[in-house]
């Protein structure tokens, strides 16, 4: 029951915040912080209580038995890191929106509805329930972006939602196919259940059917993970969204897609995964390289981070495509790592820097290293962490993915080469953009505010940075904290793979 509290608390939080008067924005932010922190605390308790391998904390109840739908929740080593990252980003999202006043009650109502949906996806062990939570997480995004967003917010919000629902349509079709085609592995009888537990443990979808169901479900989820060529919602959405929403988008929502790919597409359709893995790897490489190249060309600081997210999600997809323990562990770790670092970068650019400079265009920024030294150094450290600096979690996860790719027999050496190229390009754009943003003098002649120093970070901002950067550092130094939980669960999943 413990884990369910995350979902319940979030939805109650949404209701409470929504019912408070918008003039009480000071009280609302404390309520929001408390709700988010409670969610984080529950995820941490789950993490401490979990001892490896199989699903824990199972809750099973009938929901719509006539359609084979149950209410089944629980978590394992794959969902745990994601629960944690959701909690972390939720807390920091509130901290970085500390000054928000307009329609604050509605903001946090949508915010916590989204977070409740996200927790729900990570905890669902019934395909239908997972889909329901997945869709619950979509609609609030529209309102968060359309109401509180920046330039072109209506367009970006609509685009994001239509892409999301396009993906869910594919998933729903695949889901129905799985329901009707899955048989009991021993008796060959039709299972007719949406329970992920039953489907994974003794279900089997006929091999030929897996060949066409896998791409449906995988692509459906991967759209949300920012897979090329369906990634274009991500940069526009991230850029137009208010800070807290873009933190959630980059930190958590994109992970929903990747989690669905791993848990549902690969977990239920191993034969399909084996057949399609080389193609997934190719797309992942395109994601990594293309994302990095486009990031290099951007003038808007937020777009740089947006495309770097696309690039980093490529590593998650690549890790999944390896279909071996090392690579997939790397994928899950990368989900965590990009979750915290991506959210941090968006927070820094979207709130900390933008609220002071009032511009995000790189060629309008002027020697920020002198004018906001503290913030600049924090940002530099964060982007180096994102680049894969040893000591931070990004390094470990990308290393795992690369080794996994190298070990994988089904993926050719070209893939490893492509990933290597991607890493080089990541170094490239990170350093170039750091230079452009913080060390360069403005190209245009400026009207005299060039020497003004900006105020230092406020307390909530400092705490947010400390939490996110601290967790990236902690996992970078002690990766076994997570890998010890991730690997046994992945091993269980891989055991069920048919021999190649």
């Amino acid at each position: 029951m413990t884990a369910l509290l995350t979902i319940i608390l979030s939805f109650i939080g949404a209701l409470v915040c929504g019912l408070m008067p918008s003039s009480a924005h000071r009280r609302i932010r404390w309520v929001a912080l408390a709700v988010a922190a409670a969610g984080l605390a529950v995820s941490m308790v789950c993490c401490l209580n979990y001892s490896g391998g199989d699903f824990a904390d199972l809750v099973k109840a009938d929901w719509i038995p006539s359609l084979g739908i149950g209410f089944i929740t629980g978590y394992d080593g794959i969902s745990l890191p994601l629960l944690l990252v959701t909690g972390l980003v939720a807390v920091c999202g509130v901290l970085f929106s500390w000054t928000l006043e307009t329609r604050a009650n509605q903001f946090y109502a949508f915010y916590f509805a989204l977070i409740g949906g996200v927790y729900g996806v990570f905890l669902s062990l019934d395909l239908f329930l997972l889909f329901v939570f997945y869709e619950i997480a979509v609609v609030p995004k529209y309102f968060l972006i359309a109401i509180w967003g920046g330039a072109r917010r209506q367009f970006a919000a609509m685009k994001l939602v239509l892409y999301s629902f396009g993906g869910s349509a594919l998933v729903l079709l695949g889901m129905l196919a799985v329901f009707f085609l899955a048989q009991d592995a021993t008796s060959g009888k039709a299972l007719e259940t949406f329970s992920l537990l039953d489907l994974q443990q003794h279900g089997e979808v006929p091999r030929e059917a897996q060949q066409w169901i896998f791409p449906l479900i995988f692509v459906g989820f991967a759209i949300m993970a920012g897979m090329w060529p369906f990634h274009t919602w991500a940069p526009t959405g991230h850029v137009a969204a208010p800070t807290a929403a873009s933190m959630l988008l980059a930190g958590v929502v994109m992970k929903l897609g990747a989690y669905g790919c791993l848990r549902v597409a690969v977990g239920l359709l191993p034969a399909g995964a084996q057949a399609w893995a080389p193609w997934v790897a190719v797309v992942a490489i395109i994601n990594i390289v293309y994302g990095a190249l486009v990031a290099l060309k951007q003038d808007d600081f937020k777009y740089v981070i947006g495309y770097s997210s696309v690039s980093h999600m490529g590593f998650v997809l690549l890790g999944i495509a390896t279909l071996n323990l090392t690579g997939m562990t790397g994928a899950v770790l990368q989900m965590f790592s990009h979750g915290v670092i991506g959210a941090l970068l968006f927070a820094l650019v979207g709130t900390v820097i933008y609220s002071r400079t009032k511009t995000r265009m790189l060629d309008e920024l002027h020697r920020l290293i002198d004018r906001m030294p503290g913030i600049a150094w924090v940002f530099i450290v964060a982007s180096l962490a994102s680049m894969g600096l040893p000591g931070f979690s990004g390094f470990i996860s990308e290393l795992y993915v690369l080794i996994g790719t190298w070990e994988s027999e089904s993926l050719s050496g070209w893939i490893v080469g492509g990933a290597g190229l991607g890493i080089l390009l990541t170094f490239g754009y990170t350093l170039v953009k750091i230079h452009e943003a913080f060390f360069r003098e403005r190209k245009t002649s400026d009207p005299g505010d060039a020497e003004i120093s900006y105020p230092a970070m406020t307390l909530p901002e400092k705490i947010g940075v400390a939490i996110l950067l601290g967790s990236a550092l902690l996992i970078g130094l002690c990766p076994w904290l997570l890998t010890d939980k991730i690997s046994p669960s992945l091993e269980l999943m891989l055991e069920r793979f048919p021999p190649n």
Binding site: W63, I64, P65, S66, L67, R103, Q106, F128, F131, V132, E135, I136, V138, V139, Y142, F143, A146, I147, Q154, M158, V161, L162, F165, G166, A169, L170, L172, L173, L176, A177, F179, F180, L181, A190, P206, E208, A209, W212
Partner: protein, 491 residues
């Protein structure tokens, strides 16, 4: 025939008829010279009392504490849990229309307005409980004629008269087609009782009969290409009436379609089924395309809801083509939850625009989140349910339709077998539909209040408020906990 039993079985209907005459009588005699507001109030109260009494008896009948006869001669009345539940829900929704109709004093013919509402409700109750070709047809005509008359009630509007004329002519032609189809069906089987028709085969005359029936009911359900009346009628009829056309009459027509197709489902020979599937699938695809693409360009909210109704009728057929018990249950469940949401959406529009004095454009609702937050939230729930977003009932309804369609050929193992293509098409179209639903919600919830808003919130009134609350709660509750209703409908 045991008349005492028949009397008991028809007690709900009798109570409604009594209320109908009471409303007319009181309005004509005692309230002759009274103020309009007073007359509306009294007529509404009497009608409500009748429906509530009828509803109470129906609940007793469903619960089994009051004996009902299983079936009368020739299947004129088939009263089982499923049909009685439908009838009860129709009465309940009819009850919900009353406070909406009371708010806006569109016509001095007060008691006729409410009598027609009750007549339509009565007719719907008969349509869903009758399994006799003639009985069901007459009941459906009772519904249609009441609705034609109600469309034209607002005599101050020329457009209203034009829409009613269009509705009447189209509807009359449709009834002709339906009657033709029914008579061929009777001719081929020699039966009026649908429960007695067994062993249908794919004789050409039967195929023709069903095609004619599809045309006739296609008009009533607003399926493309028989949808042309819908946008005008939805836009120009008084808003509560449009809501009732878009919900109650849809339930009646869909239930009749399912009842008429039941012999095909039960027939041991699947040939007739196979002959009818292409026609139904074509209607489904066409309706989804016309409805969803048509709605994209609408600026008038009620017209947009009309196109959305066309699209939803298309989804409905996805469950019909399954030709299975699950498919039939899914169709009834879907039309119920669709109607709840549609009635709710019209209710919100009615409450917000009855003082506006003209047709409401989508932009008129800008900033409702600030001026009328409760209504905005209710509207959010109704529209998201129409769009099929979980955890609302609309999603489950759609899911069940698709589930039934794929389940019709569960062993189909490749994507080009079974109804995967039809479900895929419906899913793509639901993604398209999201665009226009969100555009409406944008006005209600996103746009700032000073941005061209023309809605001055008037007093909602407790009855209308309660109605909208109950509808919204029903939409949420049926999404979270559909099993009890599904259980009742399966019987």
């Amino acid at each position: 025939m045991d008349y005492q039993q028949l009397l008991l079985a028809l007690l709900p209907d009798l109570l409604v008829v009594v209320a109908l005459f009471a409303a007319l009588g009181v309005d004509y005699s005692r309230l002759r010279g009274s103020r309009l507001a007073k007359r509306y109030e009294v007529a509404c109260q009497i009608s409500a009392a009748g429906l509530i009494a009828g509803l109470a008896v129906l609940v007793l009948q469903i619960a089994g504490t009051m004996p009902v006869m299983d079936s009368t001669a020739d299947g004129q009345l088939v009263l089982n849990t499923g049909t009685l539940t439908l009838k009860a829900l129709l009465y309940a929704m009819g009850l919900g229309v009353l406070p909406l109709a009371k708010r806006d004093h569109i016509t001095p013919q007060v008691s006729e307005y409410f009598a027609l509402l009750l007549l339509a409700t009565l007719g719907m109750g008969f349509v869903v409980t009758s399994r006799n070709l003639l009985g069901a047809f007459v009941a459906l005509e009772l519904v249609s004629l009441s609705l034609y008359a109600m469309t034209v009630l607002n005599q101050a509007r020329r457009a209203s008269a034009e829409a009613a004329l269009k509705y009447l002519t189209f509807g009359a032609v449709a009834s002709g087609f339906l009657l033709f189809g029914l008579s061929y069906l009777y001719g081929a089987t020699g039966q009026l009782d649908l429960t007695q028709m067994t062993g249908l085969t794919d004789e050409p005359v039967l195929v023709l009969a069903y095609l004619l029936i599809f045309v006739g009911l296609g008009f009533k359900l607003a399926l493309a290409p028989f949808h042309l009346w819908a946008p005008d009628v939805y836009q120009n009829a008084p808003t509560p009436v449009a809501g009732w056309i878009g919900s109650g009459s849809k339930i009646a027509a869909a239930a009749l379609l399912i009842a008429l197709l039941q012999p095909v489902v039960d027939a041991p020979n699947p040939k007739l089924k196979e002959a009818l599937i292409p026609a139904l699938a074509a209607l489904a695809v066409l309706s989804m395309v016309v409805g969803n693409l048509g709605a994209l360009r609408q600026t008038n909210l009620k017209r947009l809801l009309a196109y959305s109704a066309i699209a939803n009728a298309g989804y409905l057929l996805v469950g019909v083509v399954a030709f299975s018990a699950a498919g039939n249950t899914s169709v009834i469940f879907y039309i119920l939850v669709y109607s709840l949401a549609s009635l709710g959406a019209f209710g919100v529009v009615a409450v917000l625009t009855d003082t506006l004095g003209r047709d409401a454009e989508i932009n008129d609702f800008n900033g409702c989140w600030k001026t009328t937050p409760g209504l905005a939230v209710a509207f959010l729930i109704f529209v998201l349910s129409l769009a099929g977003i979980p955890p609302l009932a609309g999603f489950l309804g759609k899911f069940y339709l698709f589930f039934a369609a794929i389940g019709a050929a569960p062993e189909a193992a490749s994507w080009h077998d079974g109804f995967y293509w039809l479900v895929a098409f419906a899913l793509i179209m639901s993604v398209v539909s999201l665009y226009y639903y969100l555009r409406v919600l944008k006005a209600f919830l996103v746009a700032p209040a000073d941005d061209g808003a023309a809605i001055a919130p008037s007093k909602i009134g407790w009855a209308a408020g309660v109605t909208l609350c109950v509808l919204a709660l029903a939409v949420v509750a049926l999404g979270l906990w559909p099993e009890p209703l599904l259980g009742l409908l399966r019987n």
